[in-house]
Every structure is written in structure tokens, then in C-alpha cells.
């Protein structure tokens, strides 16, 4: 194995999707035995780039060279044949099969009537031993922990002869302990001359594991740096730094009373792990509080906890001075809270419901929309026609189904429903994501309008630009904790960036958890 041999080279990779350029003229060189971190915000184009390398997507322009030879991948099979393996964020394993069976079906084993399971099992066990992965080849996937499943994915790639291993946010599903184990495995792989591309949001991971770090932003490579010669601060500056901050002109805020108090709130995510770890926030009427943070750091759980959709395990939430910690969603709605969820398709609106039904989703039981249990259609129709007009929903009438609407018009429908009652408190989760510029501006203007009439708006977004554009104050969430709050006109982008990526704080958190886990075990 010769040092510094270029294994993979990308030249001017460009990939466009309707409306966006996901990757623009990306150059990248990966050496043998190198661990490379790809760092970037959501939507920076990391996943697109990896999918291109793995053959899931084809680039519009540019070349891929493996060991100096130009290659064209039409499918992952081509990529695998050239020694590229990928571990997706969501594992591609069959739950009812054991690891060996999963490995064999990926290797064209299905084409044979009698695949050589025994031989495969021996090879699998040898590989697992070599990298110190504790895996029982007979255990079914569904009985395994997430960490074990990930190891199976890595072994699957190695079994298929991967020399370049792509890991897409591998630590997002792992406990700190499992992360340590993963890093150990990655270092062992590096020793064997395997090259690794490691996608992450977390700064400390990047600085801990990698040899070099490539920073991506808005589809472009900002820079590639040696890990040794950089630090968290300059990395985060590269990531979120910008020359000037755009701002929408707003009227001076109303000095309002306290509308929301979140006090040391804990809650679990869908898998039962702690997603909120002692969140505290305070908000007044007449302000927009922007909650920035990389997606998946507890934003959704916080929004759901406040709206009563997710049980709070510890702590208190007060709305307008009244405790709502254990109230059901309807009680909280009736107190004047509105929620614009991120998931428009499954949560915000019904795909098979008409606009009319979507518009009365939260008030069908109230007069004048219903009386004595009967829906009052003339009143409902009138109300809906007005809303469709006011919010400029482009549709073929109130009977149009949710699934027939464009994203922007669906979001306008949701806005019309949530904002029409002039709520005192609004949670807006990624309200402009996936919308075109016009629709996005419309959404933002509606939020500002609500703020100006005295509502408190909690704007949750992974898009820092959007947050800086309309917020009065900015808070940052990372791994279920609030890293800090700043006045919008005194924002220091560098610090925000460090907070968003956890900088060294994330490492501290991880260590704390490992310790507490160990303590629990001792007890």
C-alpha cells in the first residue's frame, strides 16, 4: 500500500433538480486509508453527492475517477463492483433475515438456487472478528440494537469488497457509547487501507475522527482542510458564515406580556430515547423567537411537547401563565395556540380530505360550523371560500383534495386554518421549506403580521437565513438542549454556528451521557 495514492477523484460534479442546483462543480480527492468528513447544513448537497458516488443518481456534468480510471455508474451495483460501499442513514436490511442472509442477497445470492450460506457465514464471522465487531450471525436483524444493525451494514459493504466506505450520518442513531465503538471500527478499517467518507452535522465528531474535512454549502465546496490545522471556530465560520445579514423591515415590536414559558422540559422521541434534555425558553407577545439548529436535534419533539402531542417526562410548560404540561391538544388549541407542523403530508393536512375539510379540521365542532352534532355546510362553505380568497390558495374550488394541491398551496391552506382564528401563540416548524420563493415570502409575511398584532411566534427552522430574516431573538437547539439565546440585532454568526454544531459542547454532552450511562450500569 503506497501512501497518498488517490483512490477516488471527482471532477466538476454538477447535479441539478428542478428549481435547485444540488451540487455545483464539486471537486474531491480521496486518498487510500483516509477518513474524510463531509460537513454541511441540511440541504447543502451532501447526500446528493454521496448518492452520485454510490450510483443512485447520475451527475449532469463532471467525471468520477476510481484509481485513476474514469467510471460511469448506472446503479449501485456498478459502484459496488468498483469497491464502493455505502451505509445509509436508514438501514437497508431485511428485518426477518439474519445478517448472513442479508449479506448474501445483496451479493446476487438470489440468482442461485442454493446460495452458499455456510461459506458466507464463515467469511462473515472472520470479517466480524477482524474488526472486533461482536455480532451473532444467527440473530435476526429485528432483534438487534441499532448499533448492531449498523455494524451489519458495514460488514455487508466490506463483504462485497468495499475499499471506499460512505457513511451517511452514522452517529445520528447511535448512543454515545455506540459512537465510540463505531469510531474504533473506523480506525481499524483505516489501518487496513480502507477509505471512509463520513457525513456529519457534528463538529466534534468531524475533528475527532477525520484526517481531512470538506465543508459543503449550498451545493458548493467551500474548502477542504487538514483536521490537524483547523479548529471548531474556523470550521463553523466556514459553515454558516456570510458577509451580510438580510433583514426584513418590521415595525418595532410590542413590549408584550409573557406568552410561553418552557421550564426544564424533558421528552422522548419515537424510539423512546431522550430527545429533549432540559429545555428552558421564555417568549413574550409580539416577538418572533427563531429556534435554529440542525434538523433532528429535538425541534419536532419540542413543538409537539408544547402542542400537547407528545408527553413531557419532566418539567413544566406554561402558556399565558397557565400550566399546559399535561393538557390534551384540543385544550391547548382552545387557549389560542396554533401549530404549523413540518410534516405537511401526514400531520398538517389530510391528503384525501378536501380543502374544505382541511380548513375546518380544528374547528368543526364549534359554532357556527356545527350545531348539535350536525355540520353546517352553508356556513362552512362561506367560511372556506373567504379563507381561500384571503390566503390566495390556487385551486379548483373548495372540494379539491389535499393531494391535488402544490406544496405552496397546501401550506397556504394550513396557514389559513391556523392563523385565521388570530392565535396568541404560533409554532411554525420549517414553514417555508420546500416552497418556491413567492410562497415562502408569503408565509414569512403572515408570521410577521401575526407578530405585529401581538402574537408570540416560535419559528423553528434548520435554515439559518430564514431565522435571521424575520426573528427578534435567536435561540439555538443542539441535542435536546438550548445552547444559548441572542438578540437578533446583536447576532454573532460565528457563535451561532458553533452552537448549532455543538462545537466542543457536543463532545461534553456525549461524555456526560456516557458517564451517566455507566453510572446506571454500576447501579
Amino acid at each position: 500500500m503506497s501512501e497518498n495514492e488517490t483512490l477516488l477523484k471527482l471532477e466538476g460534479i454538477t447535479k441539478r433538480f428542478p428549481g435547485v442546483t444540488a451540487n455545483e462543480k464539486i471537486d474531491l480527492e480521496l486518498e487510500t486509508g483516509e477518513i474524510r468528513c463531509l460537513l454541511g447544513e441540511n440541504g447543502a448537497g451532501k447526500s446528493t453527492l454521496m448518492n452520485i458516488i454510490y450510483g443512485l443518481l447520475q451527475p449532469d456534468e463532471g467525471k468520477i475517477l476510481v484509481k485513476g480510471k474514469e467510471v460511469k455508474f448506472h446503479s449501485p451495483r456498478d459502484a459496488i463492483n468498483h469497491g464502493i460501499g455505502m451505509v445509509h442513514q436508514h438501514f437497508m436490511l431485511i428485518p426477518t433475515f439474519n445478517p448472513v442472509e442479508n449479506v448474501v442477497i445483496g451479493k446476487g445470492g438470489t440468482r442461485k438456487i442454493m446460495p452458499d450460506i455456510r461459506g458466507a457465514e464463515k467469511k462473515f464471522v472472520d470479517l466480524a472478528k477482524k474488526y472486533d465487531m461482536n455480532l451473532n450471525p444467527k440473530t435476526k436483524i429485528w432483534q438487534m440494537s441499532v448499533g448492531e444493525q449498523q455494524r451489519v451494514e458495514i460488514l455487508k459493504a466490506l463483504y462485497h469488497g468495499a475499499e471506499i466506505l460512505i457513511l451517511d450520518e452514522p452517529t445520528s442513531v447511535l448512543t454515545p457509547k455506540e459512537t465510540e465503538h463505531l469510531f474504533k471500527i473506523l480506525r481499524a478499517l483505516k489501518e487496513e487501507g480502507c477509505s471512509i467518507i463520513f457525513i456529519t452535522h457534528k463538529l466534534w465528531e468531524a475533528t475527532t475522527i477525520s484526517d481531512k474535512i470538506t465543508v459543503l454549502k449550498q451545493g458548493k465546496v467551500i474548502d477542504t482542510v487538514e483536521t490537524k490545522s483547523t479548529d471548531a471556530k474556523s470550521l463553523s465560520w466556514m459553515l454558516v458564515g456570510r458577509k451580510e445579514i438580510q433583514k426584513i423591515e418590521k415595525k418595532g415590536g410590542i413590549e408584550g406580556e409573557r406568552i410561553l414559558e418552557v421550564d426544564n422540559v424533558w421528552a422522548r422521541d419515537d424510539k423512546g430515547l431522550d430527545a429533549l434534555k432540559g429545555i428552558s425558553l421564555e417568549m413574550n407577545r409580539g416577538e418572533i423567537l427563531g429556534l435554529a439548529g440542525v434538523a433532528g436535534n429535538g425541534q419536532r419533539e419540542l413543538a409537539e411537547a408544547i402542542s400537547g402531542l407528545r408527553p413531557v417526562t419532566k418539567g413544566k410548560i406554561k402558556l399565558k401563565g397557565k400550566e399546559i404540561t399535561r393538557c390534551n391538544p384540543r385544550r391547548i388549541q382552545k387557549m389560542g395556540a396554533a401549530y404549523i407542523p413540518e410534516d405537511r403530508i401526514h400531520c398538517g393536512a389530510g391528503q384525501n380530505l378536501t380543502i374544505k375539510e382541511n380548513l375546518i379540521l380544528k374547528k368543526y365542532y364549534r359554532e357556527p360550523f356545527s350545531r348539535k352534532g350536525f355540520l353546517q355546510f352553508p356556513k362552512i362553505s362561506n367560511h372556506c371560500a373567504n379563507l381561500i380568497d384571503d390566503y390566495n390558495v390556487v385551486c379548483r374550488g373548495a372540494e379539491t383534495l389535499g393531494k391535488q394541491l402544490s406544496g405552496g398551496n397546501l401550506q397556504k391552506t394550513i396557514l389559513a386554518r391556523e392563523l385565521d382564528a388570530e392565535p396568541d401563540f404560533i409554532i411554525a416548524e420549517q414553514p417555508a421549506s420546500g416552497l418556491d420563493i413567492g410562497a415562502g415570502e408569503f408565509v414569512q409575511n403572515q408570521l410577521i403580521k401575526s407578530r405585529n398584532r401581538g402574537a408570540g411566534v416560535l419559528l423553528i427552522s434548520a435554515n439559518l437565513d430564514e431565522i435571521l430574516l424575520i426573528s427578534d431573538r435567536v435561540a439555538v437547539i443542539f441535542e435536546g438542549r438550548i445552547m444559548g439565546v441572542m438578540e437578533a440585532d446583536q447576532v454573532d454568526i460565528g457563535i451561532i454556528g458553533e452552537w448549532m454544531l455543538g462545537s466542543d459542547g457536543g463532545k461534553k454532552n456525549a461524555e456526560k451521557e456516557t458517564e451517566s450511562l455507566e453510572e446506571e450500569k454500576v447501579q
Partner: protein, 354 residues
């Protein structure tokens, strides 16, 4: 406005009906081939089928008698399905309803007028079936256990319970076939066409219920909540709906309606309880509900259609010698064509949209 109304009626009523017609025609054509293979003239066979179902006043009465439990269980299925719950337990709920009717019907009601007694027994039967459906409903709502499996398995429990009743506590002494004594006359359902015809009042109750459920579905807040829960649990929770409560209501009401079919059989058709009170009416109910795409008014039509096939089948066997099983095949074919053509129609729709 009238233009869009016309369009709506056309879209929601006539076009589905036309597709249904095509599927039925297809099924009968395919059935004709099978009848030919048996060596019978299909036209003759179908003529005897029609004659068997409509040939006399008695035949018509019998057809409607068969339609009644199918209609009621079909409505039961549709009600639960509004919240996207599949109540496969309608057959068992029918048996529980029959058992409750026999048990209540053996009480002495004193001087109470007939219609009050029938109302009281109906209410008791509804509650019994509702409670029985509460088991899968509760398990689904609180523990997310599949209501399909629990419902299906409880069918056998209910059937065996009825067997136990007619062989044990409720057995009419010295009866050849195990059966209960006749229920009190006041608790019996009126035979509308006179004592010689078994057609009874519960058919009209079924039609009334279909209209009532139609109104509940499309005009009430309860129907709206059922629909939202059916659209997705997350959406319903987001809308502030108490999802478990609505799911339980859907199952309990569904079970109650299915149980009424049991009362129809005991109170209207037989006058007593027997072990084989239903030859699978509940399963026919499932099929007719799906055939009518869960539209309560459509279920009136589809249940009548199935009862015609059932009623005419025996005559067909007697007069032209086509085995009754062939009718089962045709029923299967109808379903097959409906489902097949439905997916074809969707494909067409998509292409038009694109």
C-alpha cells in the same frame, strides 16, 4: 353551481355504478363459460337463477330475507371502515346478537306493547354486540393490536358459545336438532307479507339504518371525526381528536349493528336460536361493503345483488343441475372483476391527470 352539482352526481354516483355494472357483466360472462363447461346452456341457467330469486312472491320474500343480515353486517363493516378499522368480527357479533335476542326474547314482558318490547330487545342486542366488539376495539385503540386478527378469532368463540347455549341452558327439551324454544310472541319481528312469508320488519330497519349512517357519515361531526381518524392517526391527534375514543366508538357501533342481524334471524326468520344461525352472512357483509365502496346506500344495492345470487342458486341447481358451488365462483368473480377494474380505472385516472 348546478353544473358542478351535476358533475358531482355524475362523478360520485353514475360512473362508479357503471363500473360496477361492467364488473358484474364480466363476472357473469366468465361464469357462463364455466356453466358451458358443466354442459348446461348458460342462458337457461341464468334464467332459472332469476326465476329462483324473483319467480314468485315467496321467492322475492326469501331473497329479501337473505338480504337483511347481509345488509346489516355490510353496514357494520362500513361503519368501522370509516375510521379505517376492518371489523372482521361481524360474523361473531351476529352470533352474539342472536344469542342475546334468544335470551331476552324468552323473558316474560307482561302487558308491554309489541313495538316497545321489540325496541327494548333491539337495544339489548345492540349493546351485547357492541360490548363484544369492544374487545377488539379496546385492544386496537389502547394497545394497537390488529382488530382484524382479534375480530376474526372471536368469531369462533361466539359460534361455539351459541352451540353451547342451544345444546345446554337454552335447549328446547326433546328437540331433534338442538335449538332453543320459540321466543315470546311479543319479541318476535313482524312478518310484513303475512305469516306464510318470512320477510320481516328488520329489512326496513336495515334500509333506515343505511340512510341514518349515510347522514352520520356526511353530515355530522361524528362522521367527520371518523373520517379524520381514518385519514391518519397523526393527523387526527393533531386536529385534537381523541383517537382511541373514536376508534372504540367505531368498533362498538359496528358490533351493535352486526348484532342486530342476529336478532333479525332469531326474531324474524326462525323464531328460535339454533347453532347454525348464520351460514356466513357476516362474510357476505364484508364483501358487499367493499363492493359498494363503503357507501351505506350502495350497500343496500350490493346486498340485494348478493341475496339474488344466493336465493337463485338453489333453484338453478334443482332445475338445470348447475351445482350451487358455481354461484360461489361467480360471487368470487364479481369481486375479482371489481377489484381488478378498480385498479385499471385508477390507472386511467392517473394518466388523465398527467
Amino acid at each position: 353551481m348546478s353544473n358542478s352539482l351535476q358533475e358531482k352526481v355524475l362523478k360520485q354516483f353514475f360512473i362508479p355504478l357503471a363500473w360496477l355494472g361492467i364488473s358484474i357483466l364480466g363476472a357473469f360472462l366468465a361464469g357462463a363459460v364455466l356453466i358451458l363447461l358443466v354442459g348446461v346452456n348458460p342462458i337457461e341457467a341464468y334464467a332459472s337463477l332469476i326465476k329462483g330469486a324473483f319467480g314468485s312472491k315467496y321467492a322475492i320474500s326469501e331473497t329479501l330475507v337473505k338480504a337483511t343480515p347481509i345488509l346489516l353486517t355490510g353496514l357494520a363493516v362500513a361503519f368501522a371502515y370509516r375510521a379505517k378499522l376492518v371489523n372482521l368480527g361481524v360474523e361473531g357479533q351476529l352470533y352474539i346478537g342472536a344469542a342475546a335476542a334468544a335470551w331476552l326474547g324468552l323473558f316474560s314482558f307482561g302487558q308491554l306493547p309489541g313495538f316497545i318490547v321489540v325496541l327494548l330487545v333491539s337495544l339489548g342486542v345492540f349493546l351485547a354486540g357492541g360490548l363484544y366488539a369492544l374487545i377488539p376495539g379496546f385492544l386496537k385503540a389502547k394497545l394497537n393490536v390488529s382488530e382484524i386478527m382479534t375480530g376474526l378469532m372471536l368469531n369462533f368463540v361466539a359460534m361455539l358459545y351459541v352451540s353451547y347455549l342451544v345444546e345446554g341452558p337454552l335447549r328446547l327439551p326433546r328437540s331433534v336438532i338442538p335449538r332453543s324454544p320459540n321466543i315470546e310472541e311479543v319479541a318476535q319481528l313482524a312478518r310484513i307479507l303475512g305469516g306464510n312469508f318470512r320477510f320481516h320488519s328488520y329489512f326496513l330497519v336495515g334500509v333506515g339504518l343505511a340512510i341514518l349512517i349515510f347522514i352520520i357519515f356526511y353530515r355530522t361531526t361524528l362522521g367527520f371525526q371518523l373520517k379524520i381518524v381514518g385519514e391518519g392517526e397523526r393527523l387526527a391527534r393533531f386536529a385534537g381528536i381523541n383517537v382511541p375514543v373514536i376508534q372504540i366508538v367505531a368498533m362498538v357501533v359496528s358490533g351493535g349493528i352486526a348484532a342486530l342481524a342476529g336478532y333479525g334471524e332469531v326474531g324474524g326468520v326462525h323464531r328460535y336460536l339454533l347453532a347454525e344461525i348464520s351460514p356466513g352472512f357476516g362474510y357476505y357483509g364484508l364483501v358487499v361493503a367493499f363492493l359498494a365502496r363503503m357507501n351505506p346506500l350502495g350497500i343496500i344495492v350490493s346486498s340485494l345483488f348478493f341475496s339474488v345470487l344466493l336465493g337463485g342458486a338453489e333453484t338453478m341447481q334443482r332445475t338445470v343441475g348447475v351445482p350451487v358451488f358455481l354461484i360461489n365462483i361467480i360471487q368470487g368473480l364479481v369481486l375479482f372483476f371489481v377489484v381488478g377494474l378498480e385498479s385499471y380505472r385508477r390507472k386511467l385516472e392517473k394518466r388523465k391527470l398527467l
